[in-house]
Every structure is written in structure tokens, then in C-alpha cells.
């Protein structure tokens, strides 16, 4: 049984074939990166995995269970967390509240208990905060704990979003361009965190990324896409030297 498997995944929007027959497997504990030029269908694959789009054909299995056809909110309960390319945080809430929402799938209290704020709710709240505090320590967010997201700089938001995904307690973490919009130092930090997430937290990472130095630094395996089709799969070095990949990025030699 493979940890995560996409088989013959295809999706069409009207006549546009965004993703065609993409199959790949992710092993538990690895960092698997999808690269490709703009419009290659990388984010679309993420949206297929998080069930925002239903695939036209093909199936996705996670820990041996088929997830295609499930309702989107269930994916988080299975242990798949994601970040977004353009940051989708809860703007008018503090960093702490954003991270607490990441704990939503650990909620066990009932509505009537919450209305009366029973002792069980208070206990659960404190547990949530302890769990969130670990993530805050892990990502060095102490300084921003009570800041409103709307007032934070871009780089910090990116980290908060990563933190929120970690609060889910994921087995598989989908990172959509974790380094986009970050300066070189922040990208460096991001690389450290991705390595730590893999080694210390034992979370499998599936990411989409453009920054090739980050890709070669952290990825165990890389998949290259172009125009929705698979070009090459292998280690970062293998994929980067594949003539088909070079052609997709730079064009055919005359």
C-alpha cells in the first residue's frame, strides 16, 4: 500500500485540458516537489487533491483509501493540510486565532456545551492552545502571536499560513509555492523549516515550487509537468538534466 497515490488524474474545464493523465506516488516521509512552467497545472493538481475540483477522470488514494468524491472539508480530517499560493488567511483575526482554526478538526465539544462554556470546553480550549503554542515555538512566531493578520508583512503571513496547516496535525502537507514573494533569507528559513517538518515532525511534504535552489535542496523526488502532462520524474538532478524539461522551459534548440 502506498502512502499517497494519484492515478491517471485528468481534469478539463470546458475544452481546456488543465491536467491530463498524471500519475505519481508519494512515499511516506519524503519531500516530493512538482515543478513546471506557468500554467502547467501544478496548482490544479493541488486543488484536485484538496477536492476543491472534482477530477474528470482518475483517482487519488491516501493511505489506501480513495479520497476522490469525498466532500472537501473531510480532507483535513484525514490529515491532509495545505497552504495557498496567494495566502488565504483569516484577515480580521489574530495570528493565534488563525492557528486555533487549524485545530478545528480536533474539536470534540458540542454546540450546547460551547453555549454554556462548560468546563470540558475550557479544558479543550487550553489543550488547543498548548498544541498551537508548540507550532508557534517551532516557527518562531511568538512575537506575532496577538497581531492581526491584516497588519502583518507578507513574509510573516506566509509563515503563519504554514503554521496554520501544521496545527491540523497533518500526515501530508501540501505547500503551494512556499517561497513565492519571500526574500532570499526568508526562503532560506523556509528551506530549514521544510527539512525540519520532514525530519522532526515526520510529515510528508508535497509541494509546488519555482525556486530551483530550494527544490534541489529539500526535495527527495521531483515531478516536472508542462501543459498538464507529465514530463519527467526522478531526483532533482535527474529531472533538471532531462532534455524534455529543458525544452519545456527554454524551447527547442534550433
Amino acid at each position: 500500500m502506498s502512502f499517497f497515490k494519484a492515478e491517471n488524474l485528468s481534469i478539463q474545464f470546458g475544452g481546456v485540458k488543465a491536467v491530463t493523465n498524471v500519475s505519481f506516488e508519494v512515499q511516506q516521509g519524503e519531500v516530493f516537489t512538482i515543478i513546471g512552467p506557468n500554467g502547467a497545472g501544478k496548482t490544479t493538481i493541488f486543488n484536485l487533491i484538496s477536492l476543491i475540483y472534482p477530477p474528470t477522470s482518475g483517482r487519488i488514494t491516501f493511505e489506501g483509501r480513495e479520497i476522490t468524491g469525498m466532500t472537501p472539508h473531510r480532507v483535513a480530517n484525514l490529515g491532509i493540510a495545505r497552504t495557498f499560493q496567494n495566502i488565504e488567511l483569516f484577515e480580521h483575526a489574530s495570528v493565534l486565532q488563525n492557528l486555533l482554526i487549524g485545530r478545528h478538526n480536533h474539536t470534540a465539544t458540542r454546540l450546547w456545551q460551547e453555549l454554556l462554556f462548560m468546563p470540558s470546553v475550557r479544558r479543550a480550549e487550553i489543550e488547543h492552545r498548548e498544541a498551537v503554542e508548540k507550532v508557534i515555538d517551532f516557527l518562531d512566531l511568538q512575537h506575532h502571536r496577538d497581531s492581526m493578520v491584516a497588519g502583518l508583512p507578507y513574509g510573516v503571513r506566509k509563515v503563519v499560513e504554514l503554521g496554520r496547516a501544521l496545527c491540523i496535525g497533518p500526515k501530508l502537507l501540501l505547500l503551494d509555492e512556499p517561497s513565492s514573494g519571500l526574500n532570499p533569507e526568508e526562503t532560506d528559513d523556509m528551506a530549514f523549516w521544510i527539512e525540519d517538518i520532514k525530519k522532526d515532525l515526520g510529515v510528508t511534504v508535497l509541494m509546488v515550487e519555482h525556486d530551483m535552489s530550494l527544490v534541489s535542496r529539500v526535495s527527495d523526488r521531483v515531478l516536472a509537468l508542462a501543459q498538464g502532462e507529465m514530463l519527467s520524474i526522478g531526483t532533482s538532478r535527474e529531472v533538471q538534466s532531462d532534455p524534455k524539461v529543458i525544452e519545456a522551459y527554454l524551447g527547442k534548440p534550433e
Binding site: F90, L111, E114
Partner: protein
């Protein structure tokens, strides 16, 4: 300026931030309890209206301010609450039971409307709820043998465990008690996972969903609660007026109720209360101003709606956070004195946001 040093998770969770805050709320409580001793009976009547509108405001704040779903049909839930109360009282039901039934019936109506309507977003939801408002008004007018049609329905005075609520002071204490209970319940809800889920839905549905929040479920909970609270307010409203008829629950009332939360300030409990006070106090102030203003303006027809409209536009342009936003600014000004800067509350322009997924 005071700084809070947090040493315990409970400091983020508990009802009052610190002793100072608790002191001010205790003081407010005492003032509210002592109010009937100071104010004349007429103004107590206005206070009762403020409290009733505060309940409506809290219900709508939950829906609009916290969950980000608009409704232009809430007068219908007010009507369901009022008519349920009138009918149940006529059947001899005690007040504690009938007011709960008002909440349940209005909540059930909210659930039935919410299930299909909440699949719509933004302006479409506004239109759908508005249509529901029209339908409800029409049903009340036509369903004569239950609602009395256009000739309306009478309500007797409330019998609260043997105490007849026969004056505005008694009514005031009853309404105040209800507001406090409702407020506590809502604060509890908002500091729990459910409340956070509401806020998450308001700010980004797409990421709320990928955090494992069941959008339809939580939107429906918010809509049902909101309708139920409006139903409670409706029951009190009916008793206060002692007579209800369909035209008291038309579109204008819905709009007035929605305006309340915008003027009060979206996303805060204070806003609901401030908004209610404003909506009730404004017509009084206008009546007062009529005598002072030159007759050419003061005796003009349509003065009240005009002033109302101007104030709403003024708020939307100059103070989108409403009265509560203004209150926070004034408070900050004094607590930071003399270091307050004008731009402090200016929001940064938001960064690029993907609308591809919406």
C-alpha cells in the same frame, strides 16, 4: 496605557481580560439596574425598545458581522416570533414556554430558509432572503384564521411566574435579563471552536474548508441562531406594542435591522448594542430637532428617512467600523495620550488575493 502580561492560557479565554475591565462592566451593570430610579417612564419605554433591538442586533451580528452572510429578510423571523408568542399566549401557554417556542419556531423557519439560501453568496443571498421576507409578509396577511390577516392580533401583558409585566420598568428588567443571557451565550459561542469557524467562513471560505470546516453546516447554524434570536426579540416586540399586524414586518424593517449592525460596527458585540441605541435614539433626536430647526427644514416631510440615509452613507464612507470603531479610536486616544497618531487605524491595502477559486 496598560500592558497585559500573559502567564496563563486562561487569560485569553476568560470573560474579562482583567480586574479593570471587570470593574467597568460591574459599574455599567449597576447603572443599568439603577436606571429606572432616574429615568421617567417614557424613556424607560425607549430603553425597552433599545434592549429589544439589541437582541435583534446580536442575532444579525452573528450572521452578518461574524459569519459574513447577509440577510434582508429578518423581519420575517421577527414576525414568526411575534405571531408565535401571540398565538401561544392566547392558548394560555406560560411566558417562559411561549418565548422559547417563539425562538424555536423562528429558528426552524431560519433552518428551512437557510438550507437552500446559504448555497448562494453575497448579493444573491441578499435577494433570496429579501424574497423570503416578501413571501412571509404575504403569508401572514393571507393566513387569516391563524394570524388575523390585516386586522392584526392583540397581545396581553406578560405573566412572568405570576408577576404581571404591566409597566415599562418591569418590562425593562425582563428584557435586560434576556439580553444578558443571550450576550453571555454568544460570547461563549464566539470563544469556542464554533465561533472561530464562523469567523473563518467570513474571512475565507476556501481556506475554512481546507481546515476541515463544514461550510454548509456552520452557515446553517449561524442562520438558525440568528433567526431564533430575532424570534425572541419578536415576541418581546409584540408584547411591547401589544398589537401586531403584517405591515410591521415589511422590507423596511428588515433594512432597518440590517442597517443597525452596519452603523453599530460589524464584528463586535458592542456594535450590536450601540447600533440598537442609535436606531432608537435617532428618531427621538429628530423630533427634538424639528422644534429647533427653521420650519422650512423642520416641517419638511421625509426629514427622518433623509437624515437616516445621510448618516448611513456617512458611516460607510468615514467610519466603516461603525460606532464601535469610533469608540475604540476615542478610547485609544485617551489611553495613549498624547501619542495617538491619526493613521493608527488605517488598514494597509490588502495584498493580492486569488479570486480564481471563488
Amino acid at each position: 496605557m496598560r500592558f497585559l502580561f500573559k502567564t496563563d492560557y486562561d487569560q485569553d479565554i476568560r470573560l474579562f481580560k482583567d480586574g479593570v475591565q471587570m470593574f467597568w462592566y460591574a459599574l455599567l451593570g449597576i447603572v443599568l439596574l439603577a436606571l429606572p430610579a432616574v429615568l421617567p417612564e417614557y424613556l424607560m419605554g425607549q430603553m425597552v425598545f433599545i434592549l429589544i433591538y439589541a437582541i435583534i442586533g446580536l442575532g444579525l451580528m452573528l450572521l452578518i458581522g461574524f459569519t459574513g452572510q447577509i440577510s434582508l429578510g429578518h423581519a420575517a423571523f421577527l414576525a414568526v416570533g411575534a405571531y408565535t408568542e401571540a398565538i401561544m399566549q392566547a392558548k394560555g401557554m406560560p411566558f417562559v414556554v411561549s418565548i422559547v417556542l417563539s425562538a424555536v419556531f423562528a429558528g426552524a423557519a431560519g433552518l428551512i430558509v437557510g438550507l437552500p439560501a446559504l448555497r448562494l453568496k453575497g448579493i444573491y443571498l441578499a435577494i433570496a432572503t429579501m424574497a423570503f421576507g416578501f413571501i412571509a409578509e404575504e403569508v401572514i396577511t393571507r393566513w387569516e384564521h391563524v394570524t388575523g390577516g390585516n386586522s392584526g392580533k392583540q397581545l396581553k401583558q406578560i405573566d412572568f411566574f405570576g408577576i404581571i409585566i404591566d409597566n415599562d420598568t418591569k418590562f425593562y428588567y425582563l428584557a435586560l435579563g434576556l439580553v444578558v443571557i443571550i450576550l453571555l451565550g454568544m460570547i461563549n459561542l464566539m470563544r469556542s471552536p464554533t465561533g472561530r469557524a464562523f469567523v473563518a467562513i467570513r474571512d475565507s471560505e476556501i481556506s475554512a474548508q481546507s481546515m476541515g470546516i463544514h461550510l454548509a453546516k456552520y452557515k446553517t447554524i449561524a442562520f438558525t441562531f440568528s433567526a431564533a434570536l430575532t424570534g425572541v426579540a419578536g415576541a418581546l416586540y409584540g408584547h411591547k406594542l401589544q398589537f401586531i399586524s403584517p405591515e410591521q414586518f415589511n422590507l423596511l424593517v428588515s433594512i432597518e435591522m440590517t442597517t443597525l449592525v452596519f452603523i453599530g460596527g460589524l464584528g463586535s458585540f458592542h456594535g450590536a448594542i450601540f447600533g440598537a441605541a442609535f436606531i432608537i435614539a435617532l428618531p427621538q433626536l429628530i423630533v427634538f430637532a424639528k422644534d429647533v430647526l427653521p420650519p422650512a427644514i423642520g416641517q419638511q416631510t421625509g426629514l427622518q428617512p433623509t437624515v437616516f440615509g445621510l448618516i448611513l452613507i456617512g458611516f460607510l464612507i468615514f467610519e466603516p467600523l461603525g460606532i464601535y470603531g469610533r469608540w475604540v479610536k476615542i478610547r485609544t486616544y485617551f489611553s495613549l495620550f498624547p501619542f495617538y497618531r491619526r493613521g493608527m487605524f488605517k488598514r494597509q491595502k490588502s495584498y493580492m488575493k486569488s479570486d480564481r477559486l471563488k
